[in-house]
């Protein structure tokens, strides 16, 4: 068997700053002119849109100067929330500020919690709840559902929410971001226009907010183009299911340990969550998910299958027994924290939310940061527009000195120690938590997942064979995600097609949707010709972390998440 392979050595055929950044090209009278364009209809983008409309209500002159469409949100999913997925326990600070007293959809407040260490497939040890896991006062939400609600509010306030619309290029001229270009529709498998081809349009705006989420397509291009990068971003992959269960769960549960391995060599960092989703008049549900860092070494680590395996633990099986799976999904989570957060602005542009890695890893929080950032973005955009300026540089400092920056800074070194393994890493992180991040201090650099070597291990034997009742295969999971991308859609995945076996295996196992397949007659060693079933893709972003790169598919494609 060949030795470990480093994904970085097989870069995808793509040059983002060249391919996805361009000047406006439509004739002037065909360009769509809006005041502010927001890319992404998730919590960050919609908090921004709502805050903008509220601020503009008090600035009639400015509002009038922005024209017929003061605020446009561009969302590639069929609906806002269709591509959103999270646990989630949300700190309500942002939504309470944006919509005080509003009746937004949620599944109750956290009333109890346990943290379990699973040392094996059958045992569980209850740990005292460490500070980062204390969620008192937080609210169980479905970010897919919440986004739909936020979108309705934004539209009521007068924003245009353009769903099924991908933003495929960043418009830049004279060093200033001028807006975005929407994606083409009606291309075939090989990219050639079909009979009903409709080209995208230049959406020209006076300010652009990138709120694209975890694998931000334009964000990646902008970071390259404007030199905004700090430490490399790291990601984890979360795979989640929602179950209707006979008995309501009475607490939030987090687990560590099994099925992940604790040795430093394997680089398996992560754990699970199980949250109650109880709402009057609806059957009791739980949200259950597993997260694992994508810097792992074993090519056969499949978070989807680890989740299936995890469900067979007696403590977990008990919760799901007699229930029905009603949702499934997957999404990458940025875990680089403070050091990996890029510079957040360029002339005419700001970045908010997961796209900039605003996730507090030890506390598993990101939604409220995304919303706070969206709101800050709105405030800075309005200030700049009033001054007739494209200089948004004050936004970066504002985020860093806000609660977003304070929390990210405090937890800035809390994931990296786990590279030393579960127990040593845990000890170091505990020390950090206890000292509010001051000890041991320093700058623990992040490492790109694509730099982590992979080799084929033996995990696959431990994955349960799907029984269709408790455990499920990838294809039937993709099915219930609502993914029905047309067969002749163009290929949106950039990845080397001929790669060493170990790397092909890594992608094949990693991908929760079964996109990457190895032909049956491929050699056990040496290079293989990858099969890429890109229409299965649920756009989680994992491939972007581990040696490939997603680009935006046709607007409307991909999953239709509702409860995730």
């Amino acid at each position: 068997m060949a030795g470990p392979v480093v994904p970085r050595a097989f870069p995808p055929p793509v040059r983002p700053a060249e391919e996805f950044v361009a000047a406006p090209s439509d004739p002037e009278d065909e360009r769509i002119e809006v005041g502010v364009v927001i890319v992404g209809g998730g919590p960050a983008g919609l908090a921004c849109a709502n805050r903008l409309m509220a601020l503009l209500a008090d600035e009639p002159e400015l509002a009038a100067s922005l024209g017929e469409v003061p605020v446009a949100v561009v969302e590639k999913g069929k609906a806002c929330g269709a591509h959103n997925l999270s646990g989630a326990l949300m700190r309500p600070s942002a939504i309470d500020e944006l919509f005080p007293g509003a009746d937004y959809p949620h599944f109750g407040r956290v009333t109890g919690e346990s943290v379990l260490l699973l040392p094996s497939a059958t045992r569980a040890i209850r740990l005292p709840t460490p500070p980062p896991f204390r969620n008192h006062g937080n609210v169980v939400v479905s970010v897919a559902e919440l986004s739909r609600w936020l979108a309705e509010r934004a539209e009521e306030a007068g924003a245009y929410v353009l769903t099924e619309t991908a933003a495929s290029s960043l418009l830049v001229s004279d060093g200033v971001v001028r807006g975005v270009r929407s994606g083409d529709k009606g291309r075939g498998r090989d990219g050639a226009p079909l009979a009903n081809f409709e080209p995208g349009s230049d959406i020209v705006a006076r300010a652009t907010v990138l709120a694209e989420g975890t694998w931000g397509h334009l964000t990646g291009a902008a970071i390259e183009r404007f030199g905004l990068a700090r430490d490399p971003q790291e990601w984890a992959l979360g795979v989640k299911e929602v179950w209707e269960v006979p008995r309501p769960l009475d607490r939030v549960i987090h687990t560590l340990g099994w099925p992940l391995r604790t040795g430093a060599k394997w680089g398996e960092f992560g754990g699970s969550w199980i949250y109650p989703m109880n709402r009057d008049g609806e059957p009791p549900r739980v949200s259950i998910g597993f997260v694992a860092g994508l810097g792992h070494r074993d090519a056969t680590l499949s978070v989807h299958d680890v989740l299936q395996q995890f469900k067979t633990h007696p403590e977990i099986r008990r919760i799901l027994e007699g229930g029905t799976r009603v949702a499934w999904g997957a999404k990458a989570i940025p875990e680089g924290g403070w050091w990996a957060m890029p510079r957040l602005d360029a002339p005419g542009m700001v970045i908010a939310g997961d796209a900039a890695g605003m996730v507090n890893v030890p506390e598993l929080k990101g939604i409220h940061y995304a919303m706070h950032a969206g709101m800050l973005a709105a405030e800075h955009v309005v200030a700049a527009l009033k001054a007739g300026s494209t200089d948004l540089s004050a936004y970066d400092g504002a985020v860093r000195s806000s609660l977003i920056g304070r929390d990210l800074y405090r937890s800035r070194n809390m994931k990296q120690p786990f590279r030393r393994g579960f127990f040593l890493g845990g000890a170091i992180t505990n020390a950090m938590v206890a000292t509010g991040g001051r000890f041991p201090g320093g700058h623990w650099a992040t490492h790109a997942d694509a730099d982590a070597p992979v080799e084929v291990g033996d995990r696959a034997a431990s994955y349960p064979r799907p029984d269709g009742t408790l455990t499920f295969d990838k294809l039937s999971s993709v099915y219930i995600s609502g993914n029905a991308t047309r067969d002749d859609a163009p290929d949106h995945i950039r990845v080397r097609r001929r790669v060493p076996r170990a790397l092909a295996e890594a992608w094949r196992w990693m991908c929760p949707a079964g996109v990457y397949e190895i032909p049956e007659d491929a050699p056990a060693d040496g290079d293989v010709d990858l099969i890429v079933n890109y229409t299965n893709c649920v756009q989680c972003g994992a491939i972007s972390a581990k040696g490939g790169r997603l680009t935006t598919p046709e607007g409307g494609d991909g999953p239709l998440y509702r409860l995730t």
Binding site: D473, L475, S476, Y479, A484, R486, D487
Partner: protein, 324 residues
């Protein structure tokens, strides 16, 4: 109560779904204490013999109406008159495209209730009820009619039952004044077959191939098997993507949905994206070398083995059986 049944015909032969409708209508009419009568609209090919032959399927009487063939609205005119003036409480149509049009128009004409895609009719409390599958066949909905009721069957749902010893149907002519708009469409060419693209949705038997075939040549054996079974060949998305078979044959979530009498799946794993396109098939037979393939969970007959050995021998055996 009497039940009126529309009998579609062409070239001197009655459509088999209509024959099924006659059989079913006769069954429920008897329970309702009445009779089933057929109605046919057409020209010279509507001989006494042809109409009388419906007696073998349970029709006590057959109405003959001279009028244009293959158009819906003239039939609405005819059945409208019959339902209103000759005391029929229910009308039944066999599965098929024209039946939908006629049945709906008739419901509007006489103010009756109509149910389509019906898979079963029965009598409950002295009234006709109709059942139809909904939501991708995951649930059955029952219809009851406040007044007169019109039932349009699902394709191949009603089985024809022939009793050669039964009395021939009494033939009666009916003259109908067609509405002006009914006769405005002009049939230029009726029933043109399009050879190149066999419509797999209409086939009674489908032999489908998947990745397990190994390569596109595997379809040769399937075509032969389909030939002796009198069916057509279908394919999964994976092999269509790989270029082994044309898209027009693709079954599944993003392909066609079929419900033939026999669906024989060779080398198909049975992932749900495929299953939803064929799960309504009456008989599902699967051949796959992997005993863990999900298709074995919902196949009526599963054979774990090498399709390259089984399929050619099966073709031969069927050919021999048919010859004897």
């Amino acid at each position: 109560m009497n039940v009126l049944v529309y009998a579609l015909h062409r070239d001197g032969a009655i459509n088999k779904n209509s024959l099924g409708a006659v059989s079913e209508a006769a069954r429920v009419a008897a329970e309702l204490g009445g009779e089933a009568h057929a109605v046919l609209v057409g020209g010279d090919e509507l001989t006494d013999e042809l109409l009388a032959s419906l007696g073998a399927f349970g029709a006590a009487k057959a109405w003959r109406v001279r009028g244009p063939e293959g158009l819906a609205q003239p039939v609405v005119d005819a059945m409208g008159v019959l339902m209103s003036e000759h005391g029929y409480e229910y009308a039944v149509f066999g599965g098929g495209l024209l039946g939908f049009e006629i049945g709906a128009g008739l419901a509007a004409r006489i103010g009756a209730g109509v149910t389509m895609e019906v898979t079963r009719i029965a009598v409950d409390d002295g009234r006709l009820i109709a059942e139809r599958p909904i939501l991708g066949d995951s649930s059955i909905s029952t219809s009851r009619y406040k007044g007169k009721g019109i039932v349009i069957g699902r394709l191949n749902a009603f089985d024809a039952r022939e009793d050669p010893s039964a009395a021939p149907a009494a033939v009666e002519d009916l003259e109908v004044q067609f509405s002006d708009f009914s006769t405005r469409p002009r049939m230029v060419r009726r029933g043109e077959q399009r050879g190149e693209e066999i419509n797999i949705e209409d086939a009674d038997v489908l032999v489908a191939g998947g990745r397990g075939l190994g390569d596109k040549d595997g379809f040769g054996a399937l075509e032969e098997l389909a030939g002796v079974l009198g069916g057509a060949v279908a394919a999964t998305r994976a092999v269509v993507d790989a270029g082994w078979y044309p898209y027009s044959a693709q079954i599944g979530q993003t392909g066609k949905t079929v419900a033939p009498k026999l669906y024989l799946a060779a080398g198909i794993s049975g992932a749900i994206q495929h299953k939803v396109g064929m799960q309504g098939s009456e008989n599902i037979v699967a051949i796959n070398k992997d005993s863990n393939a999900p298709i074995f969970e919902f196949a009526d007959l599963g054979i774990v083995g090498d399709l390259n050995k089984i399929v050619p021998k099966l073709t031969e055996a069927i050919r021999a059986r048919k010859a004897s």
